[in-house]
Symmetry: none
Subunit: 187 residues, 4 copies
DNA sequence: AATGAATGAGACTTCATTCAT
DNA sequence: TATGAATGAAGTCTCATTCAT
């Protein structure tokens, strides 16, 4: 990939996360990235597109991070791993995570970007669908199930960050949060 | 209360929700509210303050709506009612609900506003704390429990809106969502 | 005279002097004067007129203060008294004095106000003219002479204020400053 | 130096002088300078800073103009030259001169600007100090002496402009004005 | 006469975007 | 391809003035 493009994306993620995308000027991003003002527009033809690409970049990073290299045998263990990895990602990459939340409900994303970002998660959706059709879990619409998982892991991430949890304590917290979910959702 | 102030607040809520607070000019709000440009600043001395007050207004509206007039006997029934009312509110007031999510992670709110908004929910927090200390529910930090509830109800609201649920269907959905939660959390 | 009118004038003098007339809103003047916003415009139909009236008020105050009740016999003693009184006025009424300087070169005064203010000093000009025609002083255009006097007294006032002179020290300073002038200008 | 910057400074000096800095919009300055609205702010990050820089520019121009290329032998001749040059400058550059007076007492200048502007005149102050310590002049505080000189030359400039003096007549006027001063101040 | 809420023109300033170098 | 000065539309906010009470 292109180096300058990556610099700009990273600068944007950092500044967007800290100050809000809506009040981060492109000029500041360029400066933070160590490139000229106009260079940014050689790589991203408008700020709208930059925002979209930042969102997609984050979603890609997340998807790569949480998908297990190889799927285990049981649905529960696969789901537990996804659950675990998502929380770890959220804790380890606070800027990315914060920005993800920020953009999700901001009315700043184009429809195209949302669709594209969803596509990245189709593989993960597949795992859930499989578990559902195998009746490993209470029958819920797949879309609702995923929202539910995301919602509960978000709560877990926020709480872990609030208490600056690390290592064993964090693992314990993840375990417990999954346990609460699994108790309610398993068949 | 003051009529013009309310007009402005309502106009702001509507436009913020539809277009994003970050790209709703104060001039448009004033026009939509049927007042002059400068009048807005007689009531809200800056856009920042308007945003803060909008957020507080929404939280107040929500708190009023979900708190049961009289608390029932059992913790479960009280919690079930809160759960129910929150989802109803989210479905009935989509603009308010959407804006609530938008502002929460936007970096647009002042710290003062966040604190003030939290104070509005202290009564509701009290209900949870009571249930917890009475061991009606698995021992979780109260802050995490509330995040968890909010997260799951948010998921339920999103899903209900996605499928434009109403009446019996909506009630059924609410019931099921609570059931999943209660299963996982009850002692 | 009218009490409210005087309150407004005094408030204006104070605020104009401290912050500059150009950035003192009429609303602040009204508040400082303890009257309503609109009341100010009952007495002064525009800010321009208020500024003009403030200037005239100051000039009147100054003229009243410096003109000796009864003129002495010698031109020198009369002039010495004017000189003395002007400096005393400038030191005792720093707000008035400061504002006088501020307005003089500000392009904020209407031509009418300047003319009116000059009329107030015609009596004093008469004294100078008399001394000139009696050849008590080197032949200079009367207008230049008055400028010269004002200029030197201004310098004396600034210096006295800089060193916070009072009583004997101030009197000594005034004496010396007049002496320098008189040495240069007497015939 | 930078061409656009100079254009803006010159436009500002002209418009400030004619209409007062307080009621010259930045938009008018930009237009008069032949640049876009925003360009002005590339060179002067706020109107306050533009005003400050205008003041400093004028003081620099004045200092350059009045300081003699080489100092003569006698203190009197050096002082006479400064006196002469200042008056000539004031008459030849009426816009600059008018604005200098306007800004001096306007409460529009930042303290930094005043300090910076004073530094420009340190060389000239040195000349006066030398004359003082050599007892060529009555013992007066240096600060007062400079105020006195400025005050009298200001009077001379105003009078010269009032009568639209030129060439011999102007030179004669300057000579006389210095003579009045020197008579009063020499030892 | 006194009030003060309402007005809206206009001020300063920001910033996404362009384009000549 | 990279630059960064220039642009000007558009945003937030101020404030002299009006007018119904």
């Amino acid at each position: 990939m292109n180096k300058k493009r990556a610099q700009i994306l990273n600068a944007a993620i950092e500044l967007f996360s800290l100050n809000g995308a809506w009040n981060t000027p492109t000029a500041k991003i360029a400066k933070h990235a160590g490139v000229a003002n106009g260079t940014l527009f050689n790589y991203f033809s408008s700020k709208q597109i930059l925002v979209d690409e930042v969102y997609i970049e984050i979603k890609k990073d997340l998807a790569e991070f949480i998908v297990p290299a190889s799927l285990g045998k049981s649905f529960e263990s696969n789901l537990r791993l996804l659950w675990h990895n998502y929380i770890i990602w959220g804790v380890r990459k606070p800027l990315h995570y914060n920005l993800l939340l920020q953009l999700r409900n901001s009315e700043m994303l184009s429809e195209e970007a949302k669709v594209k970002a969803d596509e990245i998660f189709q593989g993960i959706m597949g795992i859930l669908e499989k578990g559902m059709s195998d009746k490993k879990i209470v029958p819920l619409p797949i879309k609702y199930l995923s929202e539910l998982i995301m919602a509960q892991t978000d709560a877990a991430i926020n709480f872990a960050k609030l208490h600056q949890m690390e290592k064993e304590k964090l693992e314990e917290h993840i375990k417990r949060s999954f346990s609460v979910f699994w108790h309610g959702a398993k068949t």
